[in-house]
Amino acid sequence: MIGNVVSDTIAERRETPTRKRTLQRLRDWRSRVHGLYDQIEHALGSDYSYDRTGKHQSAEERVQQSGLNPDDVPPIDILRIEQSGRLVAVIQPRGLWIIGANGRLDLVLTPRTGGRRLFMLMDLSSPMENRTDWRIVRPSDGLQQLVFKPERLRELLE
């Protein structure tokens, strides 16, 4: 239920972050994001190639407040999707600590027709809830938060 993630993330923001809790949250975030990438790669299959060598490391306020060094922060993959040598999409982690969401990724598509299309992937599960609830939002097109199904990504790429 969406109400819980809003209340839970507001309540979390009022707590003083501890090193242990922040590391738990960061590791959980990495696990959820990498799990999503695995699902996307499985759904799109071998018609596409994948590059996960680029890394994102959170430098968000709570990471700094927890006294973590950059070396302590688990790096999260940036997923680049190519087709026939052409970059068609990038998924870039944007932030974990969001009021009303359990993390956000930016999905940038480069359709054959040209230009860029920006989507957000937001997890509406509550922090440390042991589940995910990924939604896809096209912010320039209103803000409907539709359930994200990795197999539907193929339609967006074509």
């Binding site: 993630v5 507001i10 923001r13 990038v90 209103g142 803000l143 938060q145």
Partner: protein, 148 residues
């Protein structure tokens, strides 16, 4: 023109405003994650979100003020209520153990609203989810005002 604003009107205004910012963001989006334009536009979006959060909270505060005022027996007490701190007004509006969870929830919103209003600590928001929760809380507050 009616001066009061509903949550629904705020939500429509938010969608229009943010979609314009994101169209610019989309036009400027490059695959360089460190692009200065993207960072600047993301920050614009953050400020718009914080401003709308303050407005959304204002709607909830109005509802709480109305509820608290109804519980006052005289005009003099109603006037005196305006001078009370938010927590006091909320405790009057939502009294009793049954309302503790809602009070705790709204108290969290109040502190977050102060952060946003004073520009001390900007949070990132998923405002659509915030609107949904605000509507739920508003319905609860409306239910209180209709109770005998």
């Amino acid at each position: 023109m009616n001066a009061s604003i509903s949550l629904g009107e705020l939500q429509s205004a938010y969608r229009r405003t943010s979609s314009r910012i994101y169209r610019i963001l989309e036009d400027g989006y490059d695959f360089s994650a460190e692009d200065a334009l993207i960072e600047a536009l993301n920050r614009d979006a953050l400020i718009i979100d914080a401003a709308f959060f303050v407005l959304i909270f204002g709607q909830m505060e109005n509802r709480i003020n109305e509820l608290a005022a109804r519980k006052m027996a005289t005009d003099q007490k109603r006037r005196a209520l305006r001078e009370q701190k938010f927590e006091r007004r909320m405790n009057i509006a939502l009294s009793g153990q049954d309302n503790k969870t809602v009070r705790d929830d709204i108290e969290g919103w109040y502190y977050l609203r102060n952060d946003a209003a004073h520009g001390e600590r900007l949070a990132r928001y998923n405002i659509e989810a915030v609107f949904e929760r605000a509507n739920q809380l508003d319905a609860m507050l409306m239910g209180q005002s209709e109770a005998p």
